[in-house]
Amino acid sequence: MQLKNNDNGKEQNNNIGFNNVNYGGMTDINDDNRFKSVFENFFKQISELNSLTTFGPFTSLINDPNTNIKTLTEHGNLLIKYQSFLNLYLSRMVNAYFLALNKVSSLIDEKKPEDIRKIIINTFEDVYSAMLESSEFSISYNNLLNSIIDINKSYQKFFDSNQIAFRQQISKEEKDLLFYNLYEIKKLSMEIKKKLNEKKDE
């Protein structure tokens, strides 16, 4: 796994995915091929079963397993990406914590408890504020936020495409279209009112 900078200076995680995961030499190529061929056969048979219209409702329950496996693989990749961004974020927080602690240790001497408390608060404030004001932290935080959003969207996509119960519900795209139409109607009525007022003023 490798972290690289893209054109915008954002840290991006490349080459991550189940295909690149090393299983510690526990599997060899023959095992992989056998495993692959068993699954390919299984999916082939399922696909053939799916084409039998007489199966009725059963078809919709096992609809397109290849798509599901692909979605889950993509989801796994997102989780790996999230973990690496979370590690970076946490390491920045932990580093700041130890840096502040070292600074406090060098400042306290034989001081009164109230003074020590003040030194702790001021030192931690300085160290953490410097971190929070740095562009490295901002990039790291926003990468983490983006990866959480990607995971949530992936869950949404999986449920939207698989569960019969969820299919009964309105999708995000359909909901957005409704909201947009509603917004347009409200805006139009306010604009008509505004134009009428302007005419009245003339």
Binding site: L101, S105, I108, E110, N146, I149, D150, D176, K194
Partner: protein, 357 residues
């Protein structure tokens, strides 16, 4: 951790837990914070002149004869709630201006619902603020109003003024977000690298949970931790506790921000600085600050950690007003409008400026 620090912290902890009064105080603080919803704010009497899904226009009941000819409209920010202007009697921005004989209206933004996600800055400026000013002009039978905006509300007031100048007698901006290239705050830093399109591809509006994470990054120890230590030490002072709880309630009373509005805010203001460069498009118009010629009072807090003073001060060089003033005060973003300091030092000068403009 060195031995001296370890011993000091261990001693403090042991001394603290040995005294049962300290444990009682902790319990008391937990109880107070859990009932914070019941704390009363906004006690000055008002009438709701208009209410829609996204705003209320409030008119405050005068408490003395009107000394200033023009009605004042205060435009609040889209962050947290407008009752910060009327937190408690002795720290109320509204009350202090009413005492000076000013006729006050307040634009109180309501929390956007999911179906309001497409509401844009264009709507806030060209429909909502516009609508309120037209209504006030009708009610008060006047051609102009005095406009006052706070934080994001000040920025939107500037947009409105640049488009509908004839309606504005004078403009007061309090900690406006103007030139974001001069903003060195944590908020600007976080906004700079935010992929707002991605955030809004999942969330309908910008969620309050993410706004909290931004606030939690602002002075995390001096304010985040220290304020609870101060509360602990002043728990027997009823007035202090009530003040603390009111501010605390306001701090956590955060509505989401309409998706499209926040998208443009982050991209055009924080990331591209289009507002200060006179290149920001709102509706069908480009906002040009140099078009503003009305008398301007720009109020800035020297210790503002939400909007850098330099980011706000830049405004005075961008407008064309010949009558423009800058007042800066040694306080913070909230202290500027809701503090004893503000009552004594800021508001008398604001009232005086209004009466002469």
């Amino acid at each position: 951790m060195n031995e001296l620090l370890y011993n000091s912290l261990a001693n403090e902890y042991l001394t603290f837990v040995k005294d049962s009064k300290n444990i009682d105080k902790i319990k008391e603080i937990r109880k107070l914070l859990s009932t914070i919803e019941n704390i009363k704010t906004g006690l000055t009497e008002y009438e709701v002149v208009k209410e829609t899904g996204l705003f209320r226009l409030l008119h405050y009941k005068p408490i003395r004869e009107q000394t200033y000819k023009y009605p004042l409209l205060i435009v609040y920010a889209l962050i947290n709630k407008s009752y910060i202007f009327d937190l408690q009697q002795d720290k109320s921005w509204i009350s202090k201006l009413l005492e000076q004989g000013i006729n006050i209206y307040l634009l109180d933004w309501k929390s956007p619902s999911k179906s309001d996600k497409y509401t844009s800055i264009d709507d806030y400026v060209n429909l909502f603020i516009y609508d309120c000013i037209e209504l006030i002009k009708d009610i008060e039978n006047t051609d102009q109003v005095s406009l006052q905006g706070y934080c994001m509300g000040a920025t939107m007031s500037l947009m409105y003024t640049s488009l509908y100048q004839k309606n504005i007698k004078n403009l007061i901006t309090i900690a406006p977000v103007v030139d974001s290239e001069k903003d060195t705050t944590v908020i600007k830093n976080m906004a700079q690298h935010m992929d707002i399109d991605k955030v809004l591809s999942y969330y309908d509006n910008f969620p309050y949970e993410l706004l909290y994470t931004l606030y939690a990054s602002l002075k995390p120890f001096k304010q985040g931790v220290n304020k609870y230590l101060t509360l602990f030490n002043n728990l027997e002072d009823k007035s202090f506790v009530q003040n603390f709880l009111r501010i605390e309630k306001w701090l956590y009373d955060t509505p989401p921000i309409a998706g499209e509005t926040f998208r443009q805010w982050i991209k055009d203001i924080y990331q591209k600085n289009l507002f200060a460069k006179n290149n920001m498009i709102v509706g069908e118009n480009k906002i040009n600050l140099s078009k503003i010629k009305v008398p301007l009072l720009n109020i800035v807090a020297d210790a503002d950690h939400l909007v850098s003073p330099k980011c706000s001060i830049a405004l005075n060089d961008l407008v064309s007003s010949t009558d423009k003033s800058l007042m800066n005060f040694p306080t913070g973003h909230v202290g500027l409008i809701a503090s004893g300091y503000s009552q004594k030092n800021v508001l008398p000068r604001v009232g005086k400026w209004m009466l002469t403009h």
